[in-house]
């Protein structure tokens, strides 16, 4: 099976390069045959990578420990549920997943636009395949000389040839990122999967994030295609709108799932730590969000065309950078992976080349991107969008700087010093506040220029409501300036959204004489992009409330309890009941049972555990979380005496954390509404399909005539 996987990769590599050339030649010569062949190349690429991925899944499922990747990330006692996700536990598999997703997106893209008659599609396909070819090169050709091997130990015919051609000396050739590489011997047992990864989140979080990362490649490819072909009007934006928001959907979902996963499994009571790899996922999200907003200005007013190109190049560059940061281990993090110089060099070269090539293209074609309008006034929706973009990009830069700071400090001072959570929070909170305010202002303010009447009409009630909430909370005893400020802003934004829905419904009822529920439904379904966007804003506001409360008002205590003892903390009480130790197939479990009381009434009986994993030789603390809408009780087992007579329990009270996940759900729902194909698009697609089938029908006639 590993031979099939390995061969599929090799064949896919060839197909990939063929497609690049066929697509470019086809588009340049306007040859439908070559273009059709290139499209088939894209589909074959996807097909071959699907076979390779299937082969890898099979090898993981049957635990073929002779395969190095399988031996490194699984063990014979690892549950099947985690054996398959071990696919993306290491570098090699992650890269395969990356290209597989890229090939899937490309195949879908070509399928959707196969009869859209524009050179943008073949050029975009060529760009996507170029990106794919880089990752294929890494997987297949990146190697190191393994001193512990002899040249005779290389059994794979492809690598035997490669070894002979390159004349590797001082050991055997060992590909660095190839998951199908077979060891010269079969180990008795695999190393197993890091217990942190043995969580249902492992199933969903990495693939979701990759779907987001890789999805940004499609708007990038179309942007480049627009520059190369010289068709730099709004068509590329219209063609890629759905793809961009899809990528954004997955990036958001990936980030939210990542936060939730960290919260549930890492056991330190938080959901975000400004870890380099988290940042690596967050920076593209910031840039993609900026892009989503600024394309609206280009569509509506023909402005910001160069800016949009810059943004998509940056966003794509950052997704590659994110992949690099995640996979290279260049900055130590909880996600740390082994470092490898050749891998680093290849990635840096690719990033540099692609960003430079894209920038060069942009500079040479800049005359195609003339703005059609000027900014009329600082008080207008255009400038609100512009501010929004500036803040988003600024935030992205801050996060990037903070992420890379350890590298800078290593260069200048010789040690990696990271800037820490405080630094990020201190610098970023004004930016978040500004973004939240713009969330409320942007959708309401007038296009072109806003006058006093417009401002009064749109902002009177929301501002009043925001002030009211802030003053009310202050009267109820809230003393934190940050909290009051953010609460006021969130209330303001909330009021703008409610007001939009209210006025929109009223306007619809006036125009088409509908009843309230019908008008509401039509409001959302007829203008799904706009009202889906408002739902997303609502989700953001809810998340902001959760983040503000939980980061300002967390309370924490370590309680050391003898068996039967009960200690109070902040209106709760914790009683230690019993202790047990037992063995699972792949780990020992130490578990203490507690009773949690709230205002002296029993709330819940909970068990907190520490686990010792055999194969991985790691001790792991699992968090027990009692969720409520008001606050989470976050329990971990700190330490315990061998006989279980005393235990130390770490208790954290995290206010409003549940609202972060609720807000996340609202955001995701809003994105689905905004992504839903509206009537126009369905109509257009129907028409395109019709045209395609008619051309299909004509084909035999044409052949007969010829």
């Amino acid at each position: 099976m590993s031979e099939i996987g390995q061969f599929s990769l090799l064949l896919a590599f060839l197909v990939c390069w063929y497609t690049v050339f066929a697509a470019i030649m086809g588009a340049r010569r306007n040859s439908p045959e070559l273009i059709a062949s290139a499209y088939r190349g894209v589909w074959s690429f996807f097909f071959l990578l699907t076979i390779a991925s299937g082969a890898l899944m099979y090898l993981l499922a049957v635990r073929d420990l002779n395969v190095e990747y399988v031996a490194r990330y699984t063990s014979s006692n690892l549950p099947m549920f985690y054996a398959i996700p071990a696919f993306w536990a290491g570098n090699a598999g992650s890269l395969v997943l990356w290209v597989w997703i890229l090939s899937g997106y490309s195949a879908l893209m070509v399928w959707r636009h196969r009869i859209t008659d524009t050179p943008l599609v073949p050029y975009a396909a060529a760009v996507l395949m170029l990106v794919g070819s880089f990752f294929m090169t890494l997987i297949i050709f990146l190697f190191q000389t393994d001193a512990s091997m002899t040249p005779q130990m290389v059994r794979d015919p492809f690598y035997r040839v490669m070894q002979a051609v390159l004349g590797v000396s001082g050991g055997g050739l060992h590909p660095t990122c190839n998951p199908f590489w077979r060891l010269p011997f079969t180990p008795a047992e695999g190393l197993g999967l890091n217990p942190q990864l043995q969580n249902p989140g492992m199933m969903f979080h990495p693939p979701t994030l990759y779907l987001g990362y890789v999805g940004m490649a499609i708007p990038f490819a179309f942007g480049m295609a627009a520059l190369v072909s010289g068709q730099a009007d709004n068509q590329w934006l219209i063609l890629t709108r759905r793809w961009t928001i899809t990528a954004w959907f997955f990036l958001s979902l990936g980030n939210i799932l990542g936060g939730w996963w960290a919260y549930v499994t890492l056991g330190w009571g938080g959901y975000w730590a400004w870890d380099p790899v988290e940042n690596a996922a967050f920076i593209p999200w910031l840039l993609a969000t900026a892009f989503l907003h600024s394309v609206m200005i280009q569509e509506k007013r023909g402005m910001l065309k160069i800016w949009n190109m810059v943004l998509i190049i940056a966003a794509f560059g950052m997704t590659i950078f994110g992949t690099y940061l995640t996979r290279s281990g260049i900055i130590s993090s909880v996600h740390a992976f082994a470092r490898n110089e050749a891998f680093n060099l290849a990635f840096l070269l690719f990033m540099a080349t692609s960003v430079m090539a894209a920038t060069f293209l942009l500079i040479t074609r800049v005359d195609l991107l003339k703005s059609e309008h000027q900014l009329d006034s600082l008080l207008s929706r255009e400038s609100a969008f512009l501010f929004n973009n500036v803040v988003f990009v600024g935030a992205a830069f801050v996060v990037l700087f903070g992420t890379l700071f350890p590298l800078f400090s290593q260069v200048f001072r010789g040690v990696q010093v990271s800037v820490g959570v405080m630094w990020f929070n201190a610098i970023l909170w004004p930016l978040w506040a500004a973004l939240l305010i713009l969330t409320g202002v942007g959708p309401l303010i007038a296009w072109r220029r806003a006058d006093a009447a417009n401002l009064r009409r749109n902002f009177l009630y929301p501002v009043a409501f925001g002030l009211l909430v802030a003053v009310g909370l202050a009267l109820f005893g809230m003393r934190s300036g940050y909290a009051l400020g953010f609460a006021g802003i969130c209330a303001f934004v909330l009021a703008t959204i409610v007001q939009e829905f209210y006025r929109g419904t009223k306007a619809r009822m006036a125009i088409s004489k509908e009843t309230i529920p019908v008008a509401m439904t039509h409001l959302v379904s007829r203008q799904n992009r706009r009202y889906g966007g408002y739902l997303i804003h609502l989700g953001i506001v809810i998340i902001a409330v959760g983040i503000t409360a939980s980061s300002l008002f967390q309370r924490e205590a370590d309680l050391t309890l003898r068996r039967g003892e009960r200690k109070p903390f902040q209106g709760y009480a914790f009683q230690y009941l019993s202790f047990r130790q037992f063995a699972e197939p792949n780990r020992d479990v130490h578990a203490a049972t507690l009773q949690v009381f709230r205002h002296d009434a029993l709330m819940r009986t909970a068990e907190v555990v520490k686990e010792d994993y055999y194969a991985e030789q790691m001790r792991w603390t699992k968090a027990k979380i009692l969720y409520t809408l008001k606050e989470d009780v976050y329990l971990t087992l700190g330490s315990f005496s061998e006989d279980g007579s005393t235990v130390t329990i770490n208790v954290k009270l995290n206010p409003l954390v549940s609202w972060i996940w609720i807000g996340g759900a609202v955001l995701i729902a809003g994105t689905v509404v905004a992504m839903w194909p509206d009537k126009r698009e369905r109509e257009h697609r129907r028409r395109t399909a019709l045209r395609g089938s008619r051309a299909e029908r004509r084909r035999p006639e044409a052949a007969a005539r010829a």
Binding site: M1, E3, I4, F7, S8, L11, V15, Y18, P32, E33, L34, I35, A36, S37, R40, G41, W43, S44, F47, L48, R114, I115, T116, D117, T118, I238, K300, I445, A446, W447, R448, R449, D451, N454, N458, E500, R503, G504, A507, A510, I511, S512, Q527, R680, E683, H684, R687, T688, L690, R691, G692, R694, A695, E696, R698, R699, E701, A702, A703, A706
Partner: protein
Amino acid sequence: MFSASVIIVLTIGVGLFITYPLLTRFRSAKSGEDSRTSDLMVRRDQLFHDIRELEFDYRMGKLSEEDYAELLTQLKTEAAEVLSALEEAERTPSEKPHEPLRAAPRDADIEVLVAAARQARAARLRQGPEPAKRITCPSCNAANPLEAQFCMKCGALLAAETKGNP
């Protein structure tokens, strides 16, 4: 053995699949005229959408009256241009108009626009080519160009066999 046969089948299959369009007299599913019409239709739909949204924005108080009037005129002018260009494309005999101009815009304004465009077209059709080259719609008896697949007035399917294949 199993792996070897899978590998051989894969190579041959993928090779044939990719080269098929090059080896046979493959005809692409596209044609230039069609795409021009389709682009115009996309633009038209976009404009109708913009007009509707503009009116909505105005009613929600997000636009001053002068801006509303000015933008509306701009959009309507462009919409009228697109509509007449579409009509032009439909009259060009090289490619058949498979989609009538009815795009179901909701607001009265747009209806008026479309109605005006239709009248203009009908007038031109009346003084157009001789009636022998027309096909009568089975459901509403309107005259349609020979190439039409759908009735331009009511949208009904025009039976393909009655006009014979070219």
